[in-house]
Symmetry: C2
Subunit: 205 residues, 2 copies
């Protein structure tokens, strides 16, 4: 089974790279599908699940764990949702199909399957530009987008820290780190896919 | 003019990737050629030049600069050699030929030419193995190799810090970061070359 995980800074174009790689290599693709699965399991609203997982409320979890049970409610919810997410990601792998998965610390959760781990990043100006295009609102302020980007990156970093010895974005935790600054996303996808194929060929020896 | 700079952790196989990319893309290649050029300019021995540039003696240079002229002699030599190296690298670019250059903070020195910057890295066990093979001495101790690897990486980090706002190895300073852990070097070179070609195509638009 071949698994590719894509971790990415918010606004770097990593999700698009992941989607395109899945098309190129004809692999299953998981991203928001995970939120839908959690929603089915918990009967919670997808938007609530997403907001809670992105809230960064659990930022001190790894420090307070084992010392106190006095989490704010938000932390308990986030923790329960992370646990569901963890189980769902594991169960996807247990199906045995090749797949690409974006975000959600899948690089760490699926470590035993030796996935090919990619990190996608870009400079802040580029990410602000991409987020503005995506929002469809050309009047939204740079300062607002920058704050949102930093907040979401922080929640990704924090939830990653709970389960991994490597920091989110530390290149040692990835096989390939791709800077998309100033580049079109589309032509990057087959290049990353070639690195992944070389890796899987090498692993199968 | 197309320039590719390869920065690399000691023992990661980065030099081989650089050499192969130059062959694939039919570009000039610079690595030890720079030491030869410094030697011709200064009448110093190449081995002395290399040892001084790798000595890490100038580690506090960026801190003490402007505050004191009381460098140890080694620092003054290293600084003079870095200055020569800087000029030689600039003069290579002024020739106008496409080229690949390995190490020597060329990513920063040649910034105005918008080079494609690659960082090559690997985990410590892999780098120790590669250094042992390269040394041709299978009895050399792991602890010795590890110390040497750390020392040389440190001198690279320090000499980079003198001239750059980015830390050596900080992925934001590179277009692509390639982890060679567990992989053969040879098949990686054309993959990196493809990323470089995509970058140059995009820059020429």
């Amino acid at each position: 089974m071949r698994i590719i995980t894509i971790s990415r800074e918010f606004g770097s174009g990593g999700r698009e790279i992941g989607k395109r790689i899945a098309d190129i290599l004809q692999m299953d693709y998981y991203d928001r599908e995970i939120l839908t699965a959690i929603s089915e399991k918990t009967s919670l609203d997808e938007k609530y699940i997403e907001a809670t997982l992105n809230s960064g409320l659990f930022r001190n979890f790894n420090i307070s764990f084992g010392r106190t049970f006095a989490y704010p409610t938000g932390n308990a919810d986030a923790l329960a949702l992370l646990t569901h997410q963890h189980q769902i990601i594991k169960s996807i792998a247990e199906k045995g199909n090749d797949f690409v998965i974006v975000g959600r610390s899948a690089d760490v959760i699926l470590e035993e399957y030796r996935p090919f781990n990619v990190f996608v990043y870009a400079d802040m100006a580029d990410r602000i530009r991409r987020c503005r295009e995506r929002s469809g609102d050309k009047d939204v302020k740079d300062s607002y987008l920058k704050r949102e980007i930093k907040r979401i990156d922080k929640s990704r970093r924090d939830s990653h820290a709970i389960i991994s010895g490597y920091n989110w974005g530390d290149k040692m935790g990835y096989h390939l780190c791709v800077n998309t600054t100033g580049l079109e996303i589309k032509p990057l996808a087959p290049l990353v896919a070639s690195f992944a194929e070389n890796y899987f060929k090498s692993m199968s020896k």
